[in-house]
Symmetry: C2
């Protein structure tokens, strides 16, 4: 069975991406990052999701000794009720996060002989992070095709972004169709008992569920 590496954060998008890859019949190995984010809840949920899906998972611990993001630094406040799809990049942006995550995914994929990397990047209902846009993914793909032994040998490790052009509502629909255990997913930037409901991530998620007329099982 063909192997694939799936970047799994435990949120709606990456979990849907995992189930999408599984539906394709791939042997998915989940890559989870403990990168000093504000809370460990999403890591626990990502592990639970991988287990539920019957997939192996590997957790990579990264210490970023520099801060500069509200997701890394508890002294910075996570914006509440920020205008969604605003053009500015919010303080929750982590410098180079997907650049780093994909670099580990590429190394992992090459080490285990996987031919595909799945990432739930989305450039429609998103916070404007530059490393979620199609042009970034294309450039990353082109770089990988030059920097890996696999590519020099004429094979290719392909980055797949099945959600990149979907709205949040379309992602919710796809998740329901793929029977993603949505009650296990965690999107909130905060790590409280319940999702905060006011951070970008909560509000984009709520917007998706509301447009589908579906109750979010994370709140049930």
């Amino acid at each position: 069975m063909n192997k694939a590496v799936v970047l799994l954060s435990g949120g709606l998008d990456s979990s849907t991406t995992l189930y999408y890859a599984l539906k394709k019949g791939l042997n998915c190995q989940c890559l989870i990052f403990d990168y000093g984010q504000r809370h460990k809840k999403e890591i626990l949920q990502a592990k639970a999701l991988a287990r539920r899906a019957g997939c192996k998972s590997v957790t990579v611990k990264i210490a970023l000794p520099w801060k500069g993001s509200a997701l890394l630094d508890k002294k910075l406040e996570v914006p509440q009720k920020r205008r969604l799809n605003a053009k500015d990049i919010p303080v929750t942006y982590v410098p180079g996060r997907n650049i780093i995550f994909l670099s580990f995914a590429a190394s992992f994929a090459e080490a285990i002989g996987a031919r595909t990397i799945f990432i739930g990047a989305n450039a429609v209902d998103y916070s404007g992070y530059p490393d979620c846009r199609p042009e970034f993914i294309r450039a990353y793909q082109s770089m990988l095709s030059r920097g890996l032994k696999t590519s020099v040998e004429g094979k290719k490790i392909k980055i797949e972004t099945p959600l990149i052009h979907l709205s949040k509502a379309q992602i919710v629909k796809l998740a329901l169709k793929l029977k993603v255990p949505l009650e296990l997913t965690w999107s909130c930037y905060m790590g409280e008992a319940c999702p905060c409901g006011v951070c970008d991530s909560c509000r984009l998620r709520a917007q998706g569920f509301s447009q589908c007329n579906v109750k979010d099982p994370a709140f049930l």
Copy 2:
């Protein structure tokens, strides 16, 4: 003073690159990786080199839970007296190493407001690693220009590779000219008291010194 991030492994090439960047009058911050390499000696030497140069250094600890390289896995043997500049990629290749290192450098550079990343990649007298070639660096640059907040804001973080087209002898000459404390540099893949003299890295280094008719101070 303009800030720059310098990837420093403690070897001849990265140390020469550091002194090259210092000569340009840049405020260099060294980025050192503890990535589970066979020995810690190069990390100690890198730290000593940064101190000697009067530069701040940050050490990032990365656990790569996958192996597949003789530099990560002590069960694999480091090739001895391998034909230099052979076309095959040796077992010391670490999947995606420079892709990962540069991704942290980009994140660090953006977080501290540095505009340049220096890496001592070399594609002349080298072991054939794909992530040391100019075409890889160009593709990486192009990817960075799309994936960082800095680039979206119209600024640019530039990757500089001053050694990429130099032979090992030319690098030794440059190191001597820049007064790099060569006795502190460590190139050997093994971590014994003295360099082994038979691994690729030792032999490429020895070739460089010999072509310059200079004794390697690491052996004095």
